[in-house]
């Protein structure tokens, strides 16, 4: 994301270009940070595993596990869906943590007199003309469509692969015979729209939240109550979106994998 370009006080994404490929440094930094936070959290939770006297973090992680088990159980037979427990857990933890990470603060570096900073010998790319350039280094990884689409594509490809592997005949017939061949175009549209909606829903929600935070910040001191409200609402939205993402993941997988008799 390169921000909204009409505003004078706009925040750009710090992008460098290496060999013709553009790297969004803030995005990479936040991906690594979020992954680290999730991994450290999980490691802390399983540090002193105990069968009969679990610690607080272990209890929390077990609660998450049971929560995801519940989601899977709603979408399909749990015996079949148990294989996706790890995926669902990783997704919900990663998305939730990244949704939360973007909320509390931002790191912005401002550039004066046209001295564009360089990274790994590469200058940050500034497209267009700006009187005043500032780079935003802190955002949710999920506030970037390229990252959410990656997650969505993992899920969608996984669901199709699993459908082909475990449910070959019915999975293929589903396109041509459900309920008759005339519906094939609709199925093809669905094929494309599923990853788009899955990825863009998450991106849109979180990105909108962060844009809103930026707008409220622009209001100055008056914005503090609105900020409190919006932060609270963003926590809620972030939690809901991580839940929805995992829920839809399991629904899509079950649609592809589970063969329903009464078609």
């Amino acid at each position: 994301m390169k921000g909204v370009r009409s505003n004078k006080m706009e925040h750009l994404a710090p992008v460098i270009e290496v060999g013709g490929i553009k790297f969004d440094l803030a995005g990479i930094f936040m991906i690594v940070l979020t992954s680290l936070v999730v991994f450290i959290l999980a490691r802390l939770a399983v540090r002193n595993l105990s069968v009969d006297n679990p610690g607080k973090l272990q209890n929390f992680l077990e609660w998450v596990v049971e929560f995801v088990q519940g989601i899977i159980g709603q979408a399909m037979d749990y015996k079949k869906g148990r294989a996706y427990l790890g995926l669902g857990l990783t997704l919900i933890l990663y998305i939730f943590v990244s949704n939360m990470l973007g909320l509390p603060f931002g790191i912005v570096t401002e550039v004066h007199d046209g001295h564009i900073p360089t990274f790994f010998g590469q200058p940050l790319v500034v497209e267009g003309a700006h009187e005043h350039v500032a780079f935003s280094w802190w955002k949710s990884p999920t506030a970037d469509a390229s990252m959410t689409m990656a997650l969505a594509l993992i899920v969608i490809i996984l669901s199709h692969v699993q459908g082909l592997r475990q449910n070959t005949k019915h999975y293929l017939q589903h396109y041509t015979r459900n309920p008759n061949p005339l519906f094939l175009p609709i199925h093809l549209i669905e094929l494309v729209s599923k990853p788009l909606t899955l990825g863009l829903r998450l991106f849109g929600n979180i990105f909108a939240g962060e844009v809103m935070i930026g707008v409220i910040l622009g209001m100055g001191w008056i914005g503090i109550p609105a900020m409190l409200l919006w932060q609270g609402f963003s926590i809620f939205v972030g939690a809901i979106q991580s839940f929805v993402f995992v829920m839809l993941t399991m629904v899509y997988i079950s649609q592809a994998v589970v063969h329903e008799e009464d078609h």
Partner: protein, 161 residues
Amino acid sequence: MTLNLANFFIQLIAFAILFWLLQRYAFKPLFGVMEKRRQMVLEQMESAQKNRDEANQYIEEQRQALQQARKEAYDIIEQAKSTGSKQADDILKAARSETERLKEEAARDIENEKNKAVAALKAQVSGLSVLIASKIIEKQVDEQTQQQLIDQYLQEVGNKS
């Protein structure tokens, strides 16, 4: 909104790595522990059920034992009562026959003593009467008559014997 392809692939790889790491170092041990706890709960429930069954069995056994003991105690008391009354009867009977015997003995003794006393009295009376008689006679009979009397008596005695 532009898609940054590099970040797209970095996210793919990062997520794959994170998934692998979590699966290997966090979820596997956690699932193991959760499974273990599930087993433990199952076992404990089973053993609780078993204990309860055993307890019920013990209670039943105890109840039967108590019943048995009560019955035995009742029997013992009954037996004691009957032997007690029998003994009392025996003792009474023995006492009664003893008194009977004692009474008879006493009566017999009394009879004996009476006979003895009568005999002794007879002897003494005859002695005394002889004595008195001799005293009276002593004064009136001279030597000659006396000799006659003695002879007469002797003769009488001789005739009698």
